[in-house]
């Protein structure tokens, strides 16, 4: 049961170009990879992964539309409604873990990285360009092995984060890969992990309305991203015909990714 609570913004941090972190107090217990439904009064309600899971929770927003723009414009003391947490979250496994985030995908991965003992987690961060590289300093606090890729080569390796993952999987033995980012990236990431025979858990995004497993707007092959996801294992992902190829729009129509 997930009643709406009203939370007050305690801090606003500009992370990178167009990317903002809001912190607020909420007593719910949140696992890395779970998400909230965030109500911006008078505007909309949108799903947001928790980027901080301690007592002072956080969400990290990319300004891409009306709701995210309104969220990014909030100030300390403003109020939002929160429901959740929803979804399954990442399973923190034994052994050596490789974390790969594209764009704002890093926001839901960092709490997972922080939940793993330092010394057995490596972090790879990808973005289009250096000004969009997210949460680098926070990542460096949990791992000595943090590497960056940018499409334009303005920082770190020139190329995609998936290419960076491939290099790491070839050079080193990992037991699990955790990934979050655009679905094309995730689809390529699954292939790379399968090829190296390394299990992965990837966090997916779909159009969400109710958040509670009822309305069915976020389904991928009949599986509810809000309830059974948003994090899926390699085995689950391989069975999904829609993964990497199509998604549902706000009317429920199938559209190509």
């Amino acid at each position: 049961m997930n009643k709406m609570r009203i939370a007050t913004i305690t801090s606003v941090t500009k992370e990178a170009a167009g990317i903002t972190t809001l912190r607020f107090r909420d007593d719910a217990e949140v696992k890395p990879g779970q998400f909230y439904m965030i109500w911006i009064p008078h505007i909309d309600e949108v799903p947001m992964s928790a980027s901080y899971t301690s007592a002072e929770k956080g969400i990290t927003i990319k300004d891409v539309g009306e709701a995210t723009h309104a969220l990014s414009s909030l100030k300390v003391h403003d109020r939002i409604g929160v429901r959740g947490p929803f979804g399954n979250g990442f399973m923190i496994s034994q052994g050596r873990v490789l974390i790969a985030g594209g764009g704002t995908g890093m926001a839901s991965l960092l709490p997972a990285a922080e939940a793993i003992d330092p010394g057995r987690v490596d972090v790879l961060i990808g973005a289009k360009t250096s000004s969009e590289i997210l949460l680098l300093e926070r990542a460096k606090k949990v791992s000595n092995e943090v590497h960056v890729s940018t499409d334009d080569g303005s920082m770190g390796k020139k190329g995609t984060v998936v290419e960076l993952v491939q290099e790491h999987l070839e050079a080193k033995r990992y037991d699990m890969v955790l990934g979050c980012g655009p679905e094309r990236m995730l689809s390529a990431l699954l292939k790379v992990c399968d090829k190296a025979s390394v299990e992965c858990q990837l966090s997916l995004e779909r159009y969400m309305k109710c958040g509670a497993g009822l309305c069915g707007s976020c389904v991928i092959d009949g599986v509810r991203v809000c309830k059974e996801g948003p994090v899926f294992s390699s085995a689950e992902l391989r069975k999904m015909k829609e993964f990497g190829s199509s998604k549902r729009d706000e009317c429920g129509r199938s559209v190509r990714l």
């Binding site: 049961m1 997930n2 309600e45 958040g211 509670a212 309305c215 069915g216 706000e250 009317c251 429920g252």
Partner: protein
């Protein structure tokens, strides 16, 4: 061994549980999954002539005893839904096509499309409480309902169910209009008009302000409607409103329902809800000496 098989008009179901419209039923994948989970039939999301986005969020409020929702009839539109039906038809249980429209002519058009797509029956949404020009705005007037049902009946040959709203003092008149127009079954009830307010934000939570209450909170209202309908109409009734365990289902059946639908129960009790209702009902029937579900229908009136 007691049998759970039921028939509604000429529609045979392996058990008396159906997925209610609006819940996990917008895509073939969802419908197939619910059928695999044990439902005796599945009802699709209400489909209209054109694609609809529905309302901005929040569209759902969770309460201790249910939900208030105002989704705003989001749906891909009847043309795009052809692909979903093509795939959903492969499931082993009847797929009932729910439709909403603003005129008898539009209802008939959508019903004949659903029939072409292979729907086993039509469910007319005459009861959505939160979409202007649709649903209960049409479904509270017996004459309009008579015309809608009669025209849909003449436009298709599959059974036609009418899903009615409890938000009227004319429920029995509306139900009699469905029966007089040749409707094959009544589905009752849709959600009850409701509102949730945030004290801190000082405004309604749902973007549409008003919504519809569902779940255990409305079970006594649904039971009363089904009980009264059973006394007044002679076509089968499908009971819906707060069914989430075998006892709820048995109560609806004893009030007069031939089958039940489960909507909110899918969110509150999980997809296992269909199987657990069936297992519990069968055990109850064996304990109490009922050979078939039909022997329980309406016994509360005797």
């Amino acid at each position: 061994m007691s049998s759970l098989e039921v028939t509604i008009g000429n529609l045979a179901l392996r058990n008396p549980t159906m997925l209610a419209s609006g819940v996990m039923d917008e895509t073939a994948g969802s419908l197939l999954r619910v059928a695999r989970a044990g439902a005796g039939a599945v009802v699709t999301k209400s489909i209209g002539s054109e694609p609809r986005k529905g309302y901005p969020g929040p569209t759902l409020v969770e309460l201790d005893d249910g939900y208030i929702n105002a989704m705003g009839l989001p749906n891909p539109g009847i043309e795009a839904f052809a692909a979903e039906m093509r795939e959903a038809r492969s499931c082993l249980v009847p797929v009932i096509g729910s439709i909403f429209a603003s005129s008898p002519k539009e209802f008939s058009f959508l019903a004949s499309k659903m029939q072409d797509y292979g729907a086993a029956a039509i469910e007319l949404n005459l009861s959505c409480p939160h979409a202007k020009g649709y649903g209960m705005e049409i479904g509270v007037d017996p004459e309009t309902v008579f015309t809608v049902v009669r025209e849909v009946k003449s436009a298709c040959s599959i059974p036609v169910f009418a899903k009615l709203t409890p938000n009227t003092h004319r429920l029995l008149e509306v139900a009699k209009a469905v029966e007089a127009a040749g409707g094959d079954a009544i589905v009752a009830i849709n959600t009850v008009k409701a509102l949730a307010i945030s004290a801190e934000i000082r405004r309604p939570i749902l973007s549409n302000k008003g919504g519809g209450l569902s779940g255990p909170a409305i079970k006594p209202i649904g039971l009363r409607c089904v009980y009264d309908l059973h006394a007044d109409v002679n076509i089968p009734i499908v009971g819906v409103g707060g069914v989430e365990n075998w006892r709820d289902a048995v109560e609806y059946i004893m009030a007069g329902a031939s089958a039940v639908q489960v909507g909110s129960g899918v969110g509150r009790a999980g997809l296992e809800v269909f199987e657990s209702i069936c297992t519990g009902m069968q055990a109850f029937m064996e304990r109490e000496g009922f050979n078939s579900v039909s022997h329980m229908v309406g016994v509360a009136h005797e």
